[in-house]
Symmetry: none
Subunit: 419 residues, 2 copies
């Protein structure tokens, strides 16, 4: 049987536009991966009458209802009570959840007494499967009632995401009779439309498996998906198309089913027992931030110098003052000297540097917004490349970091650098 | 008369989770500012039957319907046709839009002939107000039918945002007889539920203006909102409550209608002509990244050293090796030495440092996950504080940076540091 799902997000902050509904996005991704057809998203405010109305509508058109938000301890957190009522379920006190809540407040948050309504969170629909909250206080749950599967997840995105993985997905897996298996090709160095042009034939002709490109911040995600009775069967169905994609895109594919360029680069360095340092101007710490986002990154990433001001490029990295004066902070020569300075300072095998104009304005030498030099220093010398990273500040910084990490990936794999 | 609105976003990519529904967010913000009550968001796929179903539901509960997406020239762009049918409107050919479309394709996109369905975009509901698209090809529109105001905006976020401003807002302004004005108090150092406990009386008793807290990553947003005939009137209505909030929360409020702690800190430094540097271990560049996210930050932020490995704390920041060996990398002494080292290295007025255990595992000395020392070095000496930042890596890092920036804010304003 095929399931159809509706996601019901509860929160006035969504209707006011304070935040985007990323919970619905995260839940949609997870459900699609399970082969569950998401047909509707509904957002409603913290108002019990309207939540009930939304539930009544959802019952006419879906058999899985995933509610997000409104599970917390404050007076506007009404999802659990309202949905339990709508589905004729009593709320019962769940002692293990209460214990976890007390523990969290007393031991980790060091509060002296429990806030008034904290334990309201431990009241859950009778007979439900409880989903533990690994990142917050409010547990979630899943139950079946009136021919519908109802799941409740917390609103804060990090809590929602974690509980999706540990609670909701296992719960939903048992409801689905087919699996949807995907391979996600991560591609850097080519745009979405060029990628589509290269693969148009197979994209248009294949229905199962399907092949579809998605533009991501400065890169492309190409997703190959097969629906089948088992993972093995899906794998076999995908194999010919997978080979075709690899043949066409070659080393533009930086990984399959990986999270990011930094994850790939970090893995390669770990395998080789080598280390990295960074020297950042226009990217302002984003290389370091992204490398250290990865748990366990201390084995490969020694650190980095953010030298945002021109004097600090000399003071911290030892970039020659004459060079800075003559060539300017945004120049291939400065990029090279920064990378070499960081490599020596940290004693690393490799160092990446960035210097450029992230905007909104061009620099005092008239360098245009979006111009970034990236250098990679290693025992084999230093290479510098010039990139245009676009005129939107945040995007420019993020694309510059992608270029830097991809340069290192290519160096580590012995591939040629982009022109 | 008060209007209630529903936003209907059309696009299978939303239901697959490929993108978040930022159009609904943008429209919500714009409508809230006009005093129009947004009661529902609905998302539906590129399926005419279900779009019609969604319209039928919306007609029972709103008198303004804003549709986003599905106005383009491809076969799955069905919003205009479907909504026109649902409201009994004929589509008529709009020559000025057709002219603009031709112009765009031939002159700006340099195509040699018009793509097959390009001119479909110029067919619009009879008698509608046409909204020009300044960033793309598909025009939008607004019309009244069956007691409902129906507006259609394009899906690509930049087009939607631009047309909101130039087309939809002017159209809607004439329908609204009140404005909604908000003050956003940004609060750090107290949780959402404690904040609510302190202000419960006024939160529960006041209907206009309203006061509501929202948890944000490691901080609280408290929003005071009044609905009135004019901005002045709203301001006067809010004043007593605003004073009350300031009295109760005092210096826990780091700003009103500001974006972030880093924005406040950067502003204070700019006013004083002072500079900041950072020395980061567990936060791995996030202080630097957040400071340099702000355009123009080079005036106050000189740079920062990310010293992720223990040896780099000595090599780059000159932290004493004996101290590192005896006290460990995660210690108040190391935090202080790091901040002092960065201050000297960059020649800054202030330096912030972080060292701690971001997880997922405790460190080799048994320091627990979430323990972070933050130090602030200045001409007046160095202060160090110990914080517990939670056990989720990304959140721990982000909260640690908030603590660091708040310490600097307090120092700059001459406020006491938290215990």
């Amino acid at each position: 049987m095929t399931h159809t799902a509706e996601i019901l997000s509860v929160g006035t902050e969504l209707l006011l536009g304070n935040i985007a509904n990323t919970d619905a996005q995260d839940v949609s991704v997870a459900l699609s991966e399970l082969g569950i057809d998401v047909r509707w998203h509904t957002v409603v405010g913290d108002n019990p009458e309207r939540v009930k109305q939304a539930v009544a509508v959802a019952r006419t058109r879906a058999d899985i209802l995933i509610a997000t938000g409104g599970l917390g301890p404050t007076y506007d957190d009404l999802t659990k009570k309202t949905l339990a009522e709508a589905f004729g379920k009593k709320l019962v006190f769940h002692e293990p959840s209460a214990r976890k809540i007390r523990e969290l407040y007393f031991q980790r948050l060091k509060t002296e007494e429990l806030p008034d309504h904290a334990l309201l969170q431990a009241w859950l629909p009778e007979g439900c499967t409880v989903f533990e909250n690994s990142c917050g206080t409010a547990p979630g749950c899943g139950f079946e009632a009136g021919g519908m599967h109802v799941l409740m997840l917390p609103g804060p995105p990090s809590e929602c995401r974690a509980m999706l993985r540990t609670g909701a997905v296992p719960y939903l897996k048992s409801l689905s009779d087919s699996v949807l298996v995907s391979r996600n090709f991560r591609i850097f160095g080519i745009g979405e439309s060029s990628c589509e042009q290269l693969l148009r034939d197979v994209m248009e002709s294949s229905e199962n498996p399907t092949l579809a490109p998605y533009a991501k911040e400065g890169e492309v995600l190409l997703r190959l998906t097969a629906k089948a009775g088992s993972e093995e069967e899906a794998g076999a169905m995908m194999a010919p198309l997978e080979n075709h994609v690899r043949e066409i895109l070659g080393d533009l594919i930086y990984g399959v089913d990986v999270d990011s360029l930094e994850q790939v680069v970090s893995g390669l360095l770990k395998e080789r027992g080598q280390t990295l340092a960074s020297a950042e101007s226009c990217t302002g710490g984003l290389i370091a931030k992204r490398m250290t986002d990865l748990p366990g990154s201390s084995a490969v990433f020694l650190g980095g110098a953010v030298t945002y001001s021109t004097p600090s490029k000399h003071r911290v990295l030892g970039v020659d003052e004459t060079l800075l004066r003559e060539k300017g902070a945004v120049s291939p020569e400065t990029a090279a000297a920064m990378a070499e300075g960081a490599r020596a300072l940290y004693g690393a095998d490799y160092a990446l540097s960035t210097t450029g104009v992230a905007g909104p304005d061009s620099d005092e030498r008239g360098n245009p917004v979006g111009l970034v030099y990236v250098a990679l220093a290693s025992g084999r010398g230093t290479v510098v490349r010039e990139f245009r990273c676009g005129s939107v500040r945040a995007r420019c910084r993020s694309i510059a970091v992608n270029h830097a990490l991809d340069m290192l990936r290519r160096e580590l794999l012995g591939l040629s650098q982009p022109e």
